[in-house]
Amino acid sequence: MEHTFKVSKYIFQDFKKALIIYYGIIIGIFMLMLFSYMRFSSGQSGDDIRFGGFGVSTVIFMFVSGLNCFKVNFKFMQANNISRKRFYRGTIIALISVAALMAFVDVVLNNVFNQIIPYEGVFEQLYRNGNYFADFVWSFALMVLAVSTGMFITLLYYKCNKLMKVMISFIPVVLFILLALFNNLTKGAVAYGVVNFFTAVLGFENYNPYIAVFSFFIASAGVLALSYGLIRRMPIKD
């Protein structure tokens, strides 16, 4: 286990610089928001100016981090003769730790921003819920899913040959076209079904974020299991 944590330590270290830059930018944007607010707001409670939603950029950051967390780290661990399963475990621990850290920082920043300017985080906007713990758990689960999905896509592309890469890239396009086609044939039933499905699994029906947390964790578990299947016999490629 000690060795696994050392893998996590390296990957976490790799994230450190990116995290500092990312939150530096977020704080910079907040300063701009604050300046705009002070410049354009009359200070009356009826003002229409509202800010919010940097959480979406954190989710995108995690997804991109997932996309970038494999190749260089895998090769370095191979240089150090670390087995693939240990690398996998170490990576998951690092990514989950980063997700927890970012979810925590996001919740803290949301509330700090909220005290200074009229600001609403993504969670609050979606669930009309100001509970810090719920916000943290929901953000954490969503970030785990984002980073796992990013990593899975990278693994898939890394493992496949050129032809398979092209095929994989076309599958979402083909699926989208087929869905649109079926949607037309069924007079909107497919779109309706998709919306209903997401409303249910994201807990929008009764504004219950824990249904979404459960869905995110189930999806993450599935994606991580598929990732393990890909990494088990992964060759070293350039």
Binding site: H3, K6, K9, Y10, V72, K75, F76, Q78, A79, N80, N81, I82, S83, R84, K85, R86, R233, P235, I236, D238
Partner: protein
């Protein structure tokens, strides 16, 4: 002590058989040379021993344990690959620091000392190292790893003669201080000949020879003298590598040195000499 047991290993890449039913045992604390022509299967064998790729058939055990995805075994092996697997954005000294995390016996002080001796700037990033210095860097990491098994795939690639000489000397000094199993895969047979204790020769994916260097060198000898007299000596003998110099010539006779005909040689005024490993290698792999 880590004995490496390779049993009936076959590795296919599509229709190509890179290794074909190779079985051999590598004894601990010896220096082996893994020799073979380009594409013979040397790197494939090393990649299999170090869990970089997976066999189509067969098994590899180190100290009695299977090598497949086995960290307990893998942490005792250091494999210096020909290709670079290190993050290009990291500095040499940062790689030393991180290697210490995974090889607990890694000696940073020794690595720094070697870097100084070889003229490797530890503040340089990996991406800025020349081919020669990239090899030096990897060789230093391997030497300082203090792993029980060191595997070098083309360790002196891009090194000048001076650095090559320094590397072989350092390798022997390192081995003398702490004996370990060392496997060197190289094409520079002449240079490495004096370093090796045993050779493993692979040809077209098959093991064709595994012998102590001394025994292999005893399986042939060089005869030289006046060309007509050498020809007389060579009657009914298997020989390779004829070299002519005016009216003189020499030839490598494929015959154990204990069977050489000293009486006839004396009568014909011919001289015997030791065979070179490289010449034998060419004969065996052609």
């Amino acid at each position: 002590m880590s004995k490496i047991e390779i049993k009936s290993i076959t590795k296919d890449y599509g229709d190509t058989k890179a290794l074909d039913n190779v079985s051999l045992t590598i004894e601990p604390n010896k220096i082996y040379g893994l020799l073979g022509r380009n594409g013979a299967g040397k790197t494939t064998l090393l990649n299999l021993i170090t869990n970089k790729i997976f066999p189509t058939e067969g098994s590899i055990k180190i100290a009695g344990e299977p090598v497949l995805e086995n960290d307990k075994v893998l942490k005792n092996i250091f494999y210096m690959m020909e290709r670079n697997l290190y993050p290009e954005a990291l500095k040499v000294k940062e790689i030393f620091k991180w290697t210490k995390e995974y090889y607990l016996l890694f000696d940073i002080e020794y690595a720094n000392k070697l870097s100084d001796r070889f003229g490797l700037d530890i503040n340089k990033k990996i991406r800025s190292l020349s081919t020669g210095y990239a090899s030096i860097f990897k060789a230093i990491v391997a030497l300082a790893s203090n792993a029980d098994i060191l595997i070098y795939d083309e360790p002196v690639l891009g090194l000048d003669a001076n650095h090559r000489n320094m590397f072989y000397k350092e390798l022997l000094a390192n081995y003398s201080e702490k004996p370990k199993t060392i496997i060197i895969s190289t094409h520079l047979i002449e240079e490495v000949e004096t370093v090796l204790e045993e050779v493993i020769i692979i040809k077209e994916g098959k093991l064709i020879e595994k012998k102590p260097v001394e025994d292999l060198l005893a399986s042939a000898y060089v005869i030289s003298g006046e060309a007509s007299k050498v020809d007389e000596y060579l009657k009914d003998k298997t020989y390779i590598e004829e070299e002519h110099m005016g009216k003189y010539k020499s030839a490598t006779v494929i015959e154990n040195i204990q069977y050489k005909n000293e009486t006839l040689a004396r009568k014909l005024n011919l001289d015997f000499a030791k065979v070179e490993l490289q010449k034998l290698f060419i004969s065996l792999t052609n």
